[in-house]
Symmetry: C2
Subunit: 198 residues, 2 copies
């Protein structure tokens, strides 16, 4: 059974893939709007996990819509959730897809699908959506990450990572400047994997 | 890292244990009020999984309280959730426990802990609570069960299974008769594992 796992090169999506590996044929997928080098960052991180990887280019209209949402809202939650759901839909509508997965944890608020979005995604595309970390809290995730991954953590603006946030930040910086990015995104720490511990 | 997994001998707790097995030292735990032969049913099922197993006797006051709750409510949800949380607390307060787990799925409504119960359980006992199937829906669980387990499914009243529901039904039958059991529990299908497919 093949599963396509949305992969940012961060610890959560890496750990999700490690949890799935014994039971599925795992394929990591980095989605990108080709605005930054997300594809190659994802590809390098996937090599460190020794897992199959491919890059999927998302339609630019998704980033345009997300930009409109974040500028209107004044905060990133809905825009990031919109990109996340759009990326899952893009995978779900590919031929022969049966299982798609992501790195969403039990306590995550962004990105997160609500119950009706999950039901709609699974029913419309006849796929199963899995969040391997959906029943894991922060302490369990950290314990497993410590055991299986060497990671680098830093503030999101300092870290090259293959996630939508980086490209949405870049889009905002291009459109209305770097100050707007600081206003719209609260500072937070992100991670990138350096090595898999075996 | 050792994890204690609440184990009823049904497909969900068995699959939860299978998911944890590559990453943890798994110990299956069947909790019982010693009213039925739950302990030995759990033990036999654990042998089929080739996993370590032990039986924990829960305090009878928990069953008494659950009985009061279901009779007052007229439906089983709160009573079963109460026993489930009590069983998790019993494991959590054991010495040297770091990780406890169960077979709760994404779509389960009973048993299920709410967010504040999870936070309280983890903080009070300094443990991590994991639901390995918390991010898996019905279709993904069924696909994995088909691949890894031979199971027998039947209506709950016909199936000998090492879960709290069986003992709560027995308690009600003893106290106020079998008709009350039928009134209080809606008919539903449960599972018991026959064999692990390797």
């Amino acid at each position: 059974m093949k599963v396509s796992v949305l992969f940012s090169g961060g610890k959560d999506s890496a750990l999700a893939a490690i949890l799935l590996e014994p039971l599925f044929e795992v394929e990591l997928v980095t989605c990108t709007f080709s605005l930054l080098s997300n594809g190659s960052i994802g590809s390098e991180a996937a090599e460190k996990l020794e897992m199959r990887h491919r890059i999927v280019c998302l339609e630019n209209s998704i980033l345009d819509d997300a930009y409109q949402i974040i500028v209107q809202d004044g905060f990133p939650k809905n825009a990031l959730n919109y990109i996340h759901l759009s990326a899952l839909k893009t995978l779900a509508e590919e031929k022969n897809t049966k299982f798609i997965a992501d790195g969403v944890r039990r306590d995550d608020r962004v990105p997160r699908l609500n119950n009706s979005q999950i039901r709609s995604l699974e029913d419309k595309y006849s796929i199963s959506y899995i969040s391997p970390l959906g029943g894991y809290g922060r302490s369990a995730v950290n314990a497993l990450v410590d055991k299986h991954l060497l990671i680098h953590e830093d503030k999101s603006e300092n870290l090259a990572k293959a996630d939508y946030e980086a490209e949405l930040r870049e889009k905002i910086a291009c459109e209305i400047g770097g100050d707007a990015v600081k206003e719209l995104f609260p500072p937070h720490v992100q991670s990138r994997i350096i090595e898999r511990i075996k």
